[in-house]
Symmetry: D2
Subunit: 385 residues, 4 copies
């Protein structure tokens, strides 16, 4: 089976998330990495692309060049990943969609709700895939949690508790470091810092696992380091369209926490608990019974879990494989379109433009509520009200 052609915008040398994409896309041999505009500095991008094995004529100096170069090739890329800084996502994603490419865009998908709606419309209109990289939703046991909830293992969900707390921006003496400072500066980061950066992962996970969408929310935002304009710690309460109550805490000043993305789901007949730092165990208590440990890779879980588990039980799998699962979903989605068949439903789980849009609406809702003493606000994008 011929590989699909894959290209990247952003993710240049030294970038944080670029390597994880290349690991993820390369994992199953579904995608050949054939084109890229990897850096905002044309020369460095071209050079690094070639060092990564791109042909010289497909190691582009800018995304505009890449779009022009790929557009009319018969072997043009089947999927473009956009892993540039946030403010550029919209423009680049739109341009590739308009030209008929499938896109996987990094989060946050856009900077405004209006842009988000435009991408949703565009994806619908063009029939192209516009996926968003909530990559942690690719973990096998996260998929299994979703399947368990969907098939009723814990009954109707009452409460979902999500958190994403780290301490990597806790050093006040480092707050002026440009690598950190821009994140808390509205001119560069928009209306929200920590919620827009990490909180939306946790909120997407709450939706992903429960199968419900956030309707309204109330936020308490603070700047633990006072010189910051935007928040470095936020607590968000929310209500979902299936009746679930949500609590979400996110922080970048939680010294001692590394990457505290965790979720607990409490239903009428059971509870579930999972944490990104130990992703190969899922804790499950059926009402009135004992806590039990579900292991990634154990037999008879769910089609969604089986599809996303790659090595035998007891062998740790990590985040690059979660990213790989998003790419595997996309490969299946693209191939199904090529073959004119329905895609495997267990693969039809990649986050999409609608999710990116909902996050954007939530970001603005958090900022609005946070500024107004936690007043409850509608968290839905206008088009979904």
């Amino acid at each position: 089976m011929a590989k699909l052609n894959w290209g990247m915008v952003g993710g240049g040398e030294g970038s944080q998330i670029g390597p994880a994409h290349r690991l993820g896309a390369g994992l199953d041999g579904e995608f050949a990495f054939v084109a890229g505009a990897l850096d905002h500095r044309p020369e460095q991008g071209r050079d690094y692309g070639q060092r990564l094995g791109l042909d010289a004529d497909r190691a582009y100096g800018s995304w505009q060049d890449m779009l022009a170069g790929e557009k009319d090739r018969p072997d043009r890329v089947d999927l473009v990943t956009v892993a540039t800084p946030n403010a550029t996502h919209f423009e680049i994603t739109r341009a590739f969609l308009e030209n008929g490419f499938h896109v996987l865009c990094e989060k946050p998908m856009t900077m405004t709700v209006a842009e988000g709606e435009e991408l949703v419309h565009l994806a619908n209109h063009t029939g192209r895939i516009c996926a968003v990289n909530y990559g942690y939703s690719g973990y096998s046991l996260v998929r299994h949690m979703r399947a368990m909830v969907a098939r009723g293992d814990i009954g109707k969900v009452r409460v979902v508790v999500a958190e994403f707390a780290h301490g990597h921006h806790a050093d006040a003496t480092d707050a002026d470091n440009p690598r950190v400072r821009w994140r808390y500066d509205p001119a560069q980061a928009g209306v929200s810092a920590q919620f827009a950066d990490c909180g939306i992962h946790a909120m997407h996970m709450a939706s992903f696992v429960t199968g419900q969408e956030v309707e309204r929310l109330s936020a308490d935002i603070v700047s633990g380091i006072p010189v910051r304009t935007l928040e470095d710690d936020a607590m968000v309460n929310f209500r979902m369209d299936g009746g679930a109550v949500g609590r979400l805490w996110t922080s970048s000043i939680a010294i001692g926490r590394q990457h505290g993305l965790a979720i607990q789901v409490f239903g009428e007949t059971g509870g579930l608990r999972w944490s990104q730092e130990q992703p190969n165990q899922l804790y499950y208590m059926p009402l009135g019974q004992r806590l039990q440990v579900i292991e990634r890779g154990e037999g008879n879980l769910s089609p969604e879990a089986d599809r996303t588990s790659r090595v035998t039980v007891g062998h740790a799998e990590g985040m690059p494989l979660a990213f790989g699962n998003i790419y595997a979903d996309l490969a299946e989605a693209i191939r199904a379109r090529k073959d004119g068949r329905t895609m495997d439903p267990a693969a039809n789980l990649y986050p999409r433009a609608e999710d990116g849009l909902r996050s954007m609406a939530a970001v603005f809702a958090v900022a609005e509520s946070g500024k107004a003493d936690g007043v409850w606000v509608d968290a839905r994008p206008p088009m979904f009200r």
Copy 2:
């Protein structure tokens, strides 16, 4: 050194918390259990008291009898523990204080703020101890956390995250069970259920550890089991008088959690994490260094930790010893008064009427805010505004 005389109201046969008090009070041989009115049924109370070793004439049928019987004895009890249902705490505590007894009252101390203020005044006026049993503050490593914060090990506190989540009231089919139902019925439980029962432990701990008091709060309360009038799940954001931001989640429908009382404190130069279910380890990360594990009983901690640690490092200590530490504080406080000396400052940590009063104000604030969409309200009792 002669033992102190100790008596109990409530804590009869089959009661939940009675045994823990007897374990705690008996632990160091400071107190002799000599009097009690243990049950609301006089006969059962007298009988059980005698089975526990009380002399027949001090195994009383009611607290009124006990008060009358003890009042004028030369060997009257030095301390009375009140471990009856919530609605009776105020009346019993007041009566004993008025007659010059020291009292350790179970939480919640009263049902109203006014009652709370009255007990504070009474304690001040009579010069008697009116302690409140936030027993988890007796754990050795909780004491050490407090000492670390106080001596500046983590700098100024930015955020404190507390939780107390369990799943023991999650079964909707059991919601009508009288042992559970009364807790969610305002006629019997007052204005709050889960926050008043468990949340105040977490909030007291936040104050205890940070050395700051809650000023205002915003609450989101829900009844996950719809037939309940009062909340079984609550999220409370708060601000403290030293500038700390607080987040507190409490739930009784969190299936899979047993007794999830946990606290995280994040300061300018370090973070701390502790959990009641594994109380012998405290996780500490100094800014820019590694997470380290502080063990209960290790050398060179703090006077507060050393005083409350009873067996050598590596041997688990549990909750009855935490209760024992509250009693040890009280023994020292009582003896110091008898001896006319200043008490050991490391023992001067038992929770007191002021703490009980603050909790009561917080309970009403949570109820008020919760009913008003999370509006921020003053959480201080009038007398501390």
Copy 3:
């Protein structure tokens, strides 16, 4: 119900294990601490005893005085705990047994197998209780493990893996410290150091939980700190009389381990795992199912677990309560004798002279095998061959 009278030899001020005994014996109000010869220095012992609340005439200067003083009192002690250094256990225990006292002796019970056999005979002959303080066998979930194995929950036991590893004697620069050195000096410690000190706890636990006795063993002993004559690290393989295979590792140079007493039991239809440092959880996997977490204090465990659980589920219990359970067993055993009735079988679990004797035989077997390149040797005392 009148309290039983309790006395102690050893456990003076500053001793390591004395406080745990007083905590344990005092826990349930079954025993009144009325007599003691607490220190090898008569004056200090008498003084400390009185500070602990003993009457002056029962705060003895030596165990001989105590024996003489108690022997003919009508209210003489019902139980004597011997918590002196190892070399004195035999003589003291023998003397009290001969005079009709029940004794709880610290481990190791004796210094030789012959002495151990003598105490077994003496206990049988006098009809007195001669218990040995393998206190960790008092933990509620250890009792439950034993009950589970006994009722067949994991089928026939195939392998039991026990360990007791700490790092408190790992510092070579401290090896000359007299508090440490004597332990590795055969003149003072006998034929074995770490195995005799800690290994026998793990081996007793293996027997206690499986209900089987060690028949033969092979040992590999080493002195990680070369100046030591006796071992600070030992690995012992053994075979039990019910067919189980045993593996036991003990070390005092395992830096990073605090008190690593842990046990795993693998049977034909299930496995169990427990660790002293987190004693309130027991991990259980039934064959072909999932790992589940048994919580101390949960409902419907076993009579043995219920009897030894004191506070509600989710509240940590620790080692002093385990010791308390040994004392509770003894109280029941003594009362049953007084009342002329059969004791509660769920309490009939305190370790006894036979266990102390078996440990002594194992100690000599380990020393013998260890010196002979791990040759398999009979680990049974002569009287049980």
Copy 4:
């Protein structure tokens, strides 16, 4: 930089370890998968190879065909992975080495010590790489442990404790299942089952981390399921050439354990602990200080750790990335040879024929000692005595 060409023998559809190799080799884009003889059934192998993207003429029906087909191609494979059943490793590896290919052979490398010595000689003689897949040694924190020991962070190693315990062969009713039975049948598995399958991973890790080799050993082997001829549980004590004492337990009947590969190293001035199931944390206690948690990916670890860490700290990495690190070592080794330069010393850590040989000698030593009541035997291959 042109990719290296990579081929595989074995690892066909449904094989256990094949996917992990393809994940690992593909991870960094260093290797292009271009040739394979994947299955013992020629048709299936050819078919599956093509489905995995091999050209039809390089999807071979047998390894002999593959050798013949590749031998004289200018673009022949740079590395051949041998992932067939154990008994075929020697013949296939030898053939490819003799023809000048670099080989990565699965463990155990051979069935006899003589074969192992032959491969070592052959590798030396031909100058080809003969690597052996002790893949767990590729984990970033395992590399870091090795670096820490090498640079003296824990002083001279006193004791190393390794284990690899699982329960996947514990079901006696499944013992006749052919997928399980052959492993315990000497006719097919050779002289050892569980030690040869899993124990050698643990033993290699002990050597890898300490930088010492096993000299002699004593083994206690048992068949927990009696119908088995070979062992399903073994305890091995050993001595290493740098003075370290080793203890190694391995089991396949440890119900409740999934993949219990873990190692503890205790030196004169520190201790280390790591477990394969939670591979992103390393526990380290410097003598006299506290236990600290080293996180994979944290800054300033060691060149060996940095080189093998791919995603930012806090994001879990798993076993496929460990395998990837072995392949990354090999890519560097092959490229260095091509470029005529010295390879990066931090990559020069892949296990090699000498390690495979030593394991083979240990397997026979364990079998010999195990049959002779644990007599101590030389564990070194003749050529290293």
